[in-house]
């Protein structure tokens, strides 16, 4: 039996802008297995980031349910949702979302502070994680003193601080050049294969295709199709051929 880590049931999200109602998600049903690398793909405004927010408990659906590890997210208390965000999920954003007032090290320790991990332990772990993402020599730099790629590496180290079982990455390569983007994708893929972390990434970066186990194409707030890895490999070849 597949080990389902994320399941959405008829998820609808509407945004109200004055008298207009924008239906960003129009009934999404997907199941994601533990350890999978899933890419949510679609053009801007397709609803992929909105779905990303629903899965990560960063926003509430207007209708429908999201289940993580079999638990209905709408039944959780505020404290449980905070604990969920702290322990179970690591977030990586397009614009890094680092706290500019904290150093790289300070950013990585923050989720561990929220988790109540003692200072010595969290400092050691932050050093280890920053080393792992290749920032061992820039640990005490502020985000403003780092390049885009380096900032995204800090964000990845921060996402891993509390050993999450899911890493959610929203357009993690959108602000990066091709080579740096590739490096970031490889790093995320490495987490997925080495640590068995489930990776769910909203993206429209074609480079993400060949590392994904499945691609969920989102269009107009609906799942247009779901493609498996074998189908993806053929298409990557085609994409490469056209370039």
């Amino acid at each position: 039996m597949p080990d389902i880590v994320v399941k959405t049931e008829d998820v609808v999200k509407e945004y109200r802008m004055g008298s207009n109602v924008l239906r960003a998600l129009d009934g999404i049903n997907i199941e994601i297995q533990r350890g999978e690398y899933i890419s949510l793909m679609g053009p801007s405004g397709s609803g992929k980031s909105t779905l990303f927010n629903m899965i990560g408990a960063l926003d509430r659906p207007t209708e429908g349910e999201v289940y993580i590890d079999g638990q209905n997210m709408s039944n959780l208390s505020q404290r449980q949702i905070a604990a969920f965000r702290c322990h179970r999920v690591g977030y990586i954003f397009q614009s890094y979302n680092l706290l500019n007032v904290r150093t790289a090290h300070g950013n990585v320790t923050l989720p561990m502070i929220f988790a109540g991990i003692p200072e010595k332990q969290r400092n050691e772990k932050a050093e280890k994680l920053l080393d792992k993402v290749g920032l061992g020599d820039r640990m005490y730099h502020l985000p403003d003193e780092l390049s885009g790629g380096q900032r995204q590496r800090v964000a990845i180290a921060r996402a891993l601080a509390n050993d999450p079982s899911i890493v959610l990455a929203d357009e993690p390569t959108a602000n990066l050049d091709t080579i740096t983007g590739r490096e970031i994708i490889d790093l995320i893929k490495q987490l997925n294969t080495e640590q068995g972390v489930t990776v769910i990434s909203a993206t429209h970066d074609l480079k993400m295709l060949d590392v994904s186990d499945r691609i969920v194409d989102i269009r107009d707030g609906l799942v247009e199709r779901i493609r498996n890895r074998d189908e993806i490999e053929i298409e990557v070849g085609e994409v490469g051929g056209h370039e």
Binding site: Q71, Q78, A82, A83, V101, R102, P111, I113, F114, G116
Partner: protein, 225 residues
């Protein structure tokens, strides 16, 4: 890794940890903190200077020395004038509006940071506490500096008007004269200014901080200032 275990409840952080984070934040954001604090300083300086000036005039009038002093303001001889009350009310309004605006801006430009902290597991209450602590420090420091500047301004004006006599009849302590309203005294006035600055700063930041903390993180992070 936490896999199938039920989702636990998030813990409360110790107060000292909040204190440390808020201090750190003020320190690194020093330039911006100074601007916010300056808003509080100016409001309180204006209030304290107007009020102290008023008390000085009243004390000198009470002492009976006022008629012997050449430059005394005519109005002071009739106790607290309407002009004085008007000035004090105006300075209070400037204080409230100025501080509320400073704090509102300071918190609103940090909505994204609030959203990010919530993504990392911060409880709503923790976010609010952080902002209350920061604004409390800023409010107190700004108001204390403001009160001292206001006092200095009033003393300089007093020296110009009354000369060294000012120091003989300086209204340091509270007094309740028979023929006039209760006088707060400069010491209490400074204390009042500090408390007022702190309370206004905390109130001014608590509403936007609370509102931001209640927002789903995705929405807080979307907010553009």
């Amino acid at each position: 890794m936490n896999q199938r275990a039920p989702i636990e409840e998030q813990i409360d952080l110790p107060f000292l940890e909040s204190l440390r984070i808020s201090f750190q934040s003020l320190k690194i954001r020093f330039g911006r903190s100074i601007i916010t604090t300056a808003g509080i300083t100016l409001g309180i300086a204006f209030l304290v200077s107007v009020w102290t000036n008023n008390e000085i005039e009243f004390a000198l009038q009470e002492s009976g020395r006022s008629s012997e002093i050449a430059n005394i303001d005519e109005a002071a001889e009739q106790g607290i004038s309407t002009k004085d009350i008007w000035l004090i009310i105006m300075s209070l309004i400037v204080c409230v509006v100025g501080i509320a605006n400073s704090m509102l801006m300071a918190v609103t430009e940090r909505f994204r940071e609030i959203g990010t902290m919530k993504c990392l597991g911060a409880l709503d209450g923790f976010v609010v506490r952080l902002f209350l602590l920061e604004s409390g420090f800023q409010g107190f420091a700004g108001a204390l500096i403001g009160a001292l500047i206001g006092l200095l301004g009033a003393v300089i004006l007093g020296l110009k008007n009354y000369g060294l006599d000012l120091f003989f009849y300086f209204p340091l302590l509270p007094a309740s004269p028979e023929n006039g309203p209760f006088q707060l005294g400069v010491l209490l006035l400074i204390l009042f200014g500090c408390v007022l600055g702190m309370v206004l700063a905390v109130i001014g930041s608590s509403f936007p901080a609370w509102r931001a903390a209640k927002l789903p993180p995705a929405e807080a992070m979307r907010t553009e200032v």
